[in-house]
Symmetry: C2
Subunit: 214 residues, 2 copies
Amino acid sequence: MRVEALVFDAYGTLYDVHSVVQRCESCFPGKGTQLSQLWRAKQLEYTWQRSLMQRYVPFSVVTREALVYACAALRLELSVQLMEALLSEYLRLEVAAALERLQMKKAILSNGSPDLLMPLVRNSNLQIDPVLSVDALRIYKPAPQVYELAVKALRMPKERIGFVSSNCWDALGAKSYGFTVYWINRGGAPLDALGFKPDAELRSLAELPDEVLR
Amino acid sequence: MRVEALVFDAYGTLYDVHSVVQRCESCFPGKGTQLSQLWRAKQLEYTWQRSLMQRYVPFSVVTREALVYACAALRLELSVQLMEALLSEYLRLEVAAALERLQMKKAILSNGSPDLLMPLVRNSNLQIDPVLSVDALRIYKPAPQVYELAVKALRMPKERIGFVSSNCWDALGAKSYGFTVYWINRGGAPLDALGFKPDAELRSLAELPDEVLR
């Protein structure tokens, strides 16, 4: 079935979070990769755990708390100045690919709270609308009601919506919900065993236009 | 407030999962620690992700699927025989401490499905009853309805129930629900930033009787 709109995950998919790794490295030489990996892992864990605990806080808070945890676990001293510098990276990430060839409706569906997400989209000059945040629902991906936000906003059947994510669990959550799903598997990781498969597995966003338009 | 019953998490708390690390090492020399860490991390991720996706499968299935993923990610060839050998370790873990001094009602509340949990408890000769599994609810910790299972089974106010876990997120999920919580922090990890604190933080189960009875 032909997809008529594309919905993009933000962090790691549409926006390249590599600059976060670099900033971690410049703040803590020799520890940048380890810190950014633990920070990201805890950030995601906290979204899942808080969702299940029914104790939502916005992604900006989760992101800050995960950074504090990661620095404590690695015994890195985190001043307020360093913390603000690291968090500010999330407001000006690079866009990972050009999407002009895809002349269809494009949206973002992100865990990011509006305080993080809106400045990011504004700073990057992307022609993407609407920008949807889980914040309205107070639960994180991969809960099905999150993916339903896009159906309500776009007003089209879910099979006609192409969902694009580099996070395998997010792609499979979207597939479980019923979207047509493109998993951007940049690192060549194995498929997560969550009972679903994406409709297509691509190596980069650059492969997306050919896949969608074929 | 005096606690009148104790509810134990099973894997990692009451049962020592170190033998799993050793078996991983004997199957894949030099890779045992890395494999067992990734296996455990994926096992937990899948419980959270499947719970949020509303796609429950029993813990025995999650555990097997996480092992298959971890071996694929580390490019380790997993035969059916090796897989069965590794999974069978979960049926005969060592009990982590003697609990005879605690002459009060003791229960287990575990993510483990009955096919994993019941043989384990039987093999270890523990005097613990009831043994409660999330399987009845088809959702995993730290969802509050899981902790509520213990209240329904023990029929006492939640503040009078002491919940014991070595998994910080599990301890904090129990605290969010309303138990009196003992976090067994064997490794000296930082507290997870989930908005709650345990009532006591102990270095091992051996410290539990003094803490509970004081």
